[in-house]
Amino acid sequence: MNEKINLKELQRKAWRSMFQDGLWDIFLGLLLFNMASGTLLDEMRISDGLRIGIYIGVEVLAMLLMFLGKRYITMPRMGTASFGQYGKVKRNRVQLLLFGSFLLGLIAWLAFSGGGELGVLGISRAYVGAIFWVVNMLVVFGLAGYFLDFPRLYLIGILYAIPIPLDIFIRQYWHTDAWAFPIFAVPSLIILGVGVVLFIRFLRNYPVVTQL
């Protein structure tokens, strides 16, 4: 029984090492920071098209950064491994989860965007949207963290869940949007900070190896 547990632990340790380079944290931090910069763009007198263009551009840049960072910086230092069925099951679960979350998010955006109240419930659409956002973020990041065996995603999920309801709350009760940028920027900088520290530590611990 003991050696069974140890082999599982060996496999788990090898799998978890794939997330120790901090690049996922940097990527997710950048996505949230993009939402923060979106609040600044809202205040500028630019067209919706340009605003969306900038937003998508930064998202693509973050994705590109992660892909290139993995390919040219961390993979040559850490090496690569194929986990077979073990990795495939984990990846499939997360892909299904992200697809479901995207679909639900789209439905929620269509249902709750715009002002006014929800007729049946008599509560603000913005509140319902915010509740939906919190639940979605906690469930998606929580389950992804569990499926991928990547516990930092639990913290990232909480940091993603906070800004939107807090922003709505402050706008509603203090009638100001002055706090919008820091509300989004602070959690994103926490995630980015963790990612950068992990990345620097990774570079120190894993020198480039010339293979045989």
């Binding site: 050696e3 090496g79 491994a81 194929s82 986990f83 293979q211």
Partner: protein, 108 residues
């Protein structure tokens, strides 16, 4: 005084596969047993071995027919992929069984 019967009780240990039994090679084989394949750098980082050490153990495992080594290039960089052969998997399974059996039978 040892009797022939006592010596035969030790035979599972003396018959053990010495290629796998060496601790460094055991850690390589155990790691590759739970993976489909991995490259040289990954194994080196996971086992904490030096380049030369891993290289010499890799050669011994390859000579025993337990390891399949594929040398390719990733862009301009050489890449060495390691994979346990069926013979290697069977040998590790047999080793596990043998060791478990031996230690299970040792009285407390």
């Amino acid at each position: 005084m040892d009797t022939p019967e006592t010596s035969s009780n030790l035979s599972p240990l003396t018959d053990v596969d010495r290629v796998i039994h060496e601790p460094a090679r055991l850690s390589i084989v155990a790691l590759l047993y739970v993976l489909v394949s991995a490259d040289f750098t990954f194994i080196m980082n996971q086992t904490g071995m030096t380049w030369g050490n891993l290289s010499s153990h890799m050669t011994k495992l390859e000579e025993a027919g337990y390891l399949e080594v594929e040398k390719t290039f990733k862009g301009k960089r050489p890449n060495t992929m390691l994979k346990l052969t069926d013979k290697g998997r069977q040998a590790f399974t047999a080793y596990r069984r043998q060791m478990t059996q031996f230690f299970d039978e040792v009285p407390e």
